[in-house]
Amino acid sequence: MEYGGGGAGPVRSGGVERSEFENLALEQMDAVYRMALQLARHPDEASDLVQETYLKAIRSADRFEERGKGMRAWLFTILHNTFYSRVKREGRGPTAVPELFDAESRERGPGDEGRAWDLVSIDWEQVDGRLKAAIGELRPEHREVLLLWGVEGLKYREIGEITGVPIGTVMSRLHRARKILAESLEEFRSEVGWQGASGAE
């Protein structure tokens, strides 16, 4: 794409050409929308969030430094900040996310968390619907971390950079989210009469 430079060479945004910046940003729109949807829980609000995120990205384009692979994380960070700023401004929820790390750092034994993990023969596709419902019940900060971990496949450090919290807090939120999902699967097991590894048919 050669526009934008006129006859004076390509416009640059930070470390990359402007056109390249735009292509990189647009290629991430599905992922950004997906995260916005998980945070906002409504398509219209998600679209608003994405628009605001991209507007901020565009006007801050000269601040973006590619460093090889950072566009998606950069957009996620802007989206995260935009969402929580809205929450704060609109008084829709807590402005400070309760940090669970301290309280959870003294973890209980594995047996206290239920035995969902014992379901070695679990048919995961069978539980997708139950998982979706349980995910929908999570707090936004837990859903966000879960998405970055489960869908985007990010490392703890990367999730921490996007959400602006220490790795320990990332682990804590992730643990809390997974625990809730595991408990939901436990309930599901009870309902359908599933057998665990120790009691497999």
Binding site: Y33, R59, G70, V120, K155, V165
Partner: protein, 379 residues
């Protein structure tokens, strides 16, 4: 926080065995190193109390089950959260208007993708920024109160990171359908549009002070950006065109689609389409479209290549609305004149008709065929 034993990224200073096992299941380098160093023999669980701080750890059978479970859970979460029918279905349950339209099934649902109208709006904003220069959009609500709520990342007032260390994001396992090729074509065709939008922004601002148009400046800008971007997205008949329109269609098919989108096909529909075809244009397709303001149908015409060599022209027909626009006047977006890429809109029998082309000749042909009022005013 402290550096991991191998110096690769930060690791929690004092992880429990539980955390270590989960981190191992998640493929965290520092945990993998410690557990792989401990060998694969089962039975190390009991003896390993305190090993978290000491170094190598081996996994018990129960912990191996746990690792398998965590990995399965991660895969399942990935499926559940990336598929349509997740958040959207929840939104529908909670009463979100329109949410159900995009909600899919459960297991085999398509991945969630950004809506086309959102993509078009962002592309238009980028085009505007390209001609206005960096920071040109900075005035649109950089609220001083908009600070980062939680986090250590340094940000500016709008929550944009001042710098972000290299992420591994783009190399991860999620397979997102690349839109780069389509976007490149789309953005390439926006060169003219960029100039249009830049001037449009300024003139729309001026028109706000006149306040004698039928619509406010916000609506004019939204409609203008949407229509020009949508036209430029498909007028090169590339992949975006195929995705939206499929292929060229007959007047009868176009009329059926218009009826489906607008509730009923306008009586004059076939006659006016035929009138443009009679001016050496070919109907390249008819498709539903979400022009701001209400349900719409998008018709795309291109010159047949005979005596006419003009550009493709788009005609958008919007269902009857209370849009505050009286019949008898055609309104032009202020950007149109200077950039030679006009957008005209007028009301006929309650319907709104928008016509846009990247050159004046095609616009004139469509205006004439669709019966635009001769009285022309600028928003």
């Amino acid at each position: 926080m402290s550096r991991g034993p191998a110096g690769e990224g930060e690791t929690p200073a004092d992880v429990s065995r539980e955390q270590l096992v989960r981190a191992y299941a998640d493929g965290e380098d520092w945990a993998v190193k410690r557990i792989e160093a401990g060998g694969s023999e089962p039975g190390g669980g009991e003896a390993a109390t305190g090993e978290a701080a000491a170094g190598a750890v081996s996994l018990s059978e129960a912990e191996r089950s746990r690792v398998a479970f965590e990995r399965g859970l991660r895969e399942a979460v990935g499926r559940a959260m990336s598929a349509a029918g997740g958040a959207e279905a929840r939104a529908e349950v909670s009463g979100g208007a329109g949410a159900g339209a995009r909600a899919g099934g459960s297991g085999d649902a398509e991945p969630v993708r950004a809506p086309d109208d959102l993509r078009a709006a962002v592309v238009a904003a980028m085009a505007q920024a390209d001609v206005s220069g960096p920071g040109s959009l900075a005035s649109d609500a950089t609220d001083a109160s908009e600070r980062m709520v939680a986090g250590s990342e340094e940000t500016d007032g709008a929550g944009v990171p001042l710098a972000l260390a290299g992420s591994e994001a783009e190399s991860k396992r999620l397979a997102i359908g690349s839109v780069g090729g389509v976007m490149r074509r789309r953005l390439g065709s926006l060169a003219a549009l960029a100039a249009v939008l830049a001037l449009c922004a300024g003139l729309v601002f001026m028109s706000m002070s006149r306040a004698d148009g039928p619509w406010d400046a916000t609506r004019v800008q939204r409609v203008s950006q949407f229509i020009t971007a949508e036209h430029d997205r498909v007028d090169d008949l590339s992949a975006a065109y195929s995705s939206k329109f499929g292929e060229a269609c007959s007047v009868a098919v176009a009329r059926e689609r218009a009826a489906a989108e607008l509730g009923a096909s306008p009586e004059w529909f076939a006659e006016r389409v035929d009138a443009l075809l009679g001016r050496d244009y070919e109907l390249m397709g008819a498709s539903r479209c979400n022009v701001p303001g209400g349900p719409s149908v998008h018709l795309l015409f291109k010159p047949t290549g005979g005596e006419r060599s003009g550009a493709p022209v788009s005609v958008f027909i919007q269902a009857p609305t209370e849009a505050g626009m009286e019949a008898g006047t055609c309104w032009e977006c202020p950007a149109a004149k200077a950039a030679d890429a006009p957008l005209h809109v007028w009301r006929t029998n309650g319907y709104l008709i928008y016509v846009h082309a990247n050159e004046a000749e095609s616009l004139a042909a469509a205006r004439e065929a669709f019966g635009a009022p001769t009285r022309l005013r600028t928003f």
